[in-house]
């Protein structure tokens, strides 16, 4: 268990799969995530099984409130070149009824602290849609810096979107 101020991170459990199945099929909840195709219960069960042992190669977590209400998932990925001590951050708080309570920012902070303090990362990066202003603000609150705009890099909803690259280096977490 990785405790934060408002949330805690734990290994995914099989019982999470049904909630993930519902939430990841909620197109409004996943609009910022670039999810394209409907996900099956089997996909979610397999994800939970694969993620059951968080490790350096794939630090997947279930995110829950301090009283144990499941909120979504998060993780640090792309650590395949450990020499770079760099990972990509992914956060999917897909229960829409829990939005606007500061859980997102606290999840980012908690996950990044874990990345720096336990995984010995030097750099945590992420990709976010340029029009996803709310998420960008949450990342900036945690200390992330905008580094690049990949123009028209993502297709969805019948149009191209720009992607913003952001990163946080060790010592910059707020």
């Amino acid at each position: 268990m990785v405790p934060g101020a408002l949330v805690r991170l734990r290994a995914p459990e099989p019982a999470d799969a049904e909630s993930f199945y519902e939430w990841f099929n909620d197109t409004e909840a996943t609009a910022g995530l670039g999810v394209r195709y409907p996900v099956s219960r089997r996909t979610e069960r397999e994800w939970v099984e694969r993620g059951a042992v968080p490790s350096y190669a794939g630090a997947h977590f279930a995110v829950e409130t301090l009283d144990g209400t499941l909120l979504g998932t998060c993780g640090l990925y792309g650590t395949n070149a450990p020499e770079n001590r760099s990972a990509e951050l992914g956060v999917a708080l897909v229960d829409r009824t829990q939005w606007g309570k500061g859980y997102g920012t606290d999840t980012v902070r908690t996950l990044c602290r874990f990345g720096f303090e336990e995984m010995n990362l030097h750099r945590i990066e992420l990709l976010v849609f340029a029009h996803h202003a709310y998420a960008i603000k949450a990342y900036e609150r945690a200390g992330f810096v905008r580094e690049a705009v990949a123009r028209q890099a993502h297709w969805g909803d019948g149009r191209y979107y720009d992607d913003v690259y952001m990163s946080l280096l060790e010592g910059e977490l707020r």
């Binding site: 394209r36 770079n84 890099a153």
Partner: protein, 174 residues
């Protein structure tokens, strides 16, 4: 596939010796992600077992048109059909072919192939910010600077910043 100065052709096992020689040259690998020197056997095995180019990963050897000499290779990686976007990867391994326009021409040629044959919308690449010659060549081919990722790669005892560059179909030279 012909450019003005180079021909792009499928790689074959006969390219192994040249590739092996390039990867022994620290001036060739200085600005690449490359760290562990591959054996000749490993390169031969990889080239012999290599599948044909695919939409997701087309790759070519670069031959000079004037002498027929093989001077490097160029590839697209992680090409996604929905976003119609992929990443460019190029190495000019023959030092005698540097600064003569071959890299620029190979870049133009594979981008023309990406846009006109594969129907892509965008090609992007990452380059070390200190690799000024490469950045000049990419700009000549039409690539636009999109931002700098700090400390993205660790090599030679320190962190290196990497520049993201992108080229859209309607920006490429005809």
């Amino acid at each position: 596939m012909n450019g003005d100065l180079v021909t792009l052709r499928p790689m074959d096992p006969g390219d192994a010796a040249a590739q092996h020689r390039w990867f022994q040259d620290p001036d060739v690998t200085r600005y690449t992600g490359f760290r562990y020197p591959p054996s000749l056997t490993a390169i031969e095995t990889r080239l012999r077992g290599a599948e044909d180019s695919t939409f997701a990963n087309p790759r070519f050897a670069i031959d000079r048109r004037d002498t027929g000499e093989t001077i490097g290779y160029v590839a697209l990686r992680d090409v996604t059909p929905e976003s119609r976007a992929g990443e460019l990867d190029i190495v000019i391994g023959e030092r005698s072919a540097w600064n003569l326009g071959f890299g620029t021409d190979a870049t133009r040629t594979i981008c023309r192939y990406a846009f006109r044959t594969l129907g892509l919308h965008r090609v992007h690449l990452w380059v070390f910010t200190e690799n000024a010659a490469a950045i000049r060549a990419y700009e000549k081919a039409g690539f636009v600077r999109e931002g700098v990722a700090r400390d993205r790669w660790f090599k030679h005892g320190r962190w290196h910043d990497c520049l993201l560059m992108g080229l859209l179909a309607d920006e490429a030279a005809p």
